[in-house]
């Protein structure tokens, strides 16, 4: 993902989710987003059947 695209993605998501990012930190966050993006794509692409419960399932 090109740097300017990552910065724009971060700006849009931060606005949508109400996350405050100082202007001087935008580059850092964009770099981190570029690092994370392939992991996000890989996780989203996985086809999971309804029988797979989350590992974090809470049991009182």
């Amino acid at each position: 993902m090109p740097g300017d695209e990552a910065e724009e993605t971060v700006r849009v998501l931060a606005r949508e989710y109400g996350v405050t990012i100082q202007a001087e930190h935008l580059g850092e966050v964009a770099a981190a987003w570029r690092l994370m993006a392939p992991h996000l794509d890989r996780v989203r692409a996985a086809d999971l059947g309804p029988e797979l419960e989350p590992a974090s399932l809470f049991r009182p």
Partner: protein
């Protein structure tokens, strides 16, 4: 009577103190002297607690003098990663913000257990900020230097804890492992490290990172010492909701077990993402354990990605208030990653949790056929401090977030892993992961003991050169 302290292991020190051949105060003073001599170059300890150490040591000696048994770790000096509560200290967790917290009013549960067993706390050890790193290059407290080569990383995020043990600044340390933070430094520093089954050891009184993935565990220079410490640490604590209500299952008495083990070398991701040194180390361990087959854990790369997202989201949530109020006080290396984690969509994080389940099922199927699985702990030996990239599987990639590619899938599903150090031909050490099914720490310890007895693995004290 005095003993030559340098290089003595925990079990040797404890035996000498309990028998009166060595005073705990002498053991503590020797450790403090060694810290004074070498910590300036290593930066393993963020803060040395000399007064507490000598006070605890004197108490141990008083027990011995009164004819009472001070415990299985009598007089053994040790350190803890900077995220364990220590009475009277702010638990900084490698951060500037954390250093401003009110001092802890009680020791972490694991620290309390060690004190009750007679161990002597030397200080708190340098780590990556909030545990978010694999190299312990901390903007606030400095980098930890590898005792084998001071220009190289000690690994992270428990870098200080590993470097201290490797250099003999204490007989053992406590660290934490969320995605590899015990196993990576064990590999780079050439020592033994245990990440137990998730939920085995209580995390009460330690600063968290990722509630779903945080494990606590020990480092030591031998399988016997690691087992001795691990046995002291075990036991349920209801205050940690993730701690399993299981009785302690000691392993020290089982190290010489001769039960045949069905062993396999993990292929696929665990082979493709390993460099030449890592593969050679695994081959040496496999030969010594009689492993002649390989096993595949399908989905390891995706499981790693799942852990990556869960970590990012959890870290962002945990530090949300400070990221908003005082972002400038974070380490630049962690700030961007924590902020980015707050931008992840919820359904992706939930998908990641379900992927953990799928990979867990895959692993459990493998444990139906094998008792022990082998994989490198890191793709390569310790990189240089400040090294920007590494080459893995023919691809150049950023070093800092990718040194855990081989550890992360396994901690994602909470398997017990013991890392053993391998040194081949005078090269830098590198670790091999001994992996068992949940709650089968006895198997990883037996394997480590066999490797040690065969001369395949060892961790002599390293004196850092100027």
């Amino acid at each position: 009577m005095t003993l030559e302290m340098d290089g003595l292991g925990a079990h040797e020190i404890a035996a000498a103190v309990r028998s009166g051949r060595l005073s705990a105060v002498a053991a503590a003073q020797a450790a403090l002297t060694r810290i004074e001599a070498h910590n300036g170059r290593l930066n393993a300890y963020r803060q040395v607690l000399a007064e507490r150490a000598l006070r605890e040591a004197a108490a141990v000696d008083a027990e011995v003098a009164a004819g009472r048994d001070p415990g299985p770790l009598a007089g053994v000096p040790y350190g803890v990663k900077d995220l364990f509560d220590v009475t009277g200290l702010a638990t900084a967790a490698g951060s500037k913000i954390g250093a401003e917290r009110a001092p802890a009013t009680a020791d972490a549960v694991l620290v309390s257990r060690l004190r009750a067993a007679g161990a002597v706390l030397l200080g708190v050890q340098t780590m990556d900020e909030y545990g978010y790193g694999f190299t312990t290059e901390n903007a606030h407290y400095g980098a930890v230097h590898n005792p084998h080569d001071l220009a190289r990383s000690a690994g992270g995020s428990s870098g200080g804890s590993a470097a201290a043990v490797a250099a003999g600044l204490g007989a053992f340390s406590l660290g934490s492992d969320t995605n590899g933070s015990i196993r990576v430094p064990s590999s780079f520093c050439g020592i033994f490290g245990l990440k137990p089954t998730f939920g085995r050891l209580p995390r009460t009184g330690s600063f968290p990172f990722v509630f779903d993935l945080d494990h606590l565990g020990p480092f030591a220079r031998s399988a016997e010492d690691l087992a001795l410490v691990y046995d002291v640490l075990q036991g349920h604590d209801a205050a940690d909701h993730a701690c399993a209500p299981r009785p302690a299952e000691p392993v020290s008495g089982q190290l010489s077990g001769t039960t045949p083990l069905r062993v396999a070398v993990l292929d696929g991701w665990f082979h493709d993402m390993a460099g030449e040194a890592a593969r050679a180390a695994v081959a040496a361990v496999a030969e010594a354990l009689g492993a002649r087959v390989s096993a595949t854990l399908a989905g390891a790369e995706t499981a790693r990605s799942a852990a990556f997202l869960i970590t990012a989201a959890s870290g962002a949530n945990l530090h949300r208030a400070n990221l908003r109020a005082r972002p400038g006080d974070f380490d630049p290396a962690t700030r961007g990653r924590l902020l980015a984690g707050g931008l992840l969509p919820a359904d992706a994080v939930l998908q990641a949790q379900r992927l953990r389940r799928r990979f867990y099922d895959e692993a459990m199927a493998a444990f139906g056929r094998f008792d022990l699985l082998l994989a490198p702990a890191t793709p390569c030996p310790a990189p240089l401090l400040g090294q920007g990239s590494i080459v893995i599987g023919g691809r150049e990639m950023p070093a800092r977030p990718n040194l855990g590619v081989l550890s992360q899938p396994l901690s994602a599903i909470g398997l017990p892993v013991l890392t053993v150090p391998i040194r081949m031909g005078g090269a830098l050490p590198i670790g091999v992961q001994l992996i068992a099914a949940p709650w089968r720490e006895d198997i990883v310890f037996q394997a480590a003991a066999r490797l040690q007895a065969a001369g395949v693995t060892s961790a002599p004290v390293v004196t850092p050169c100027a």
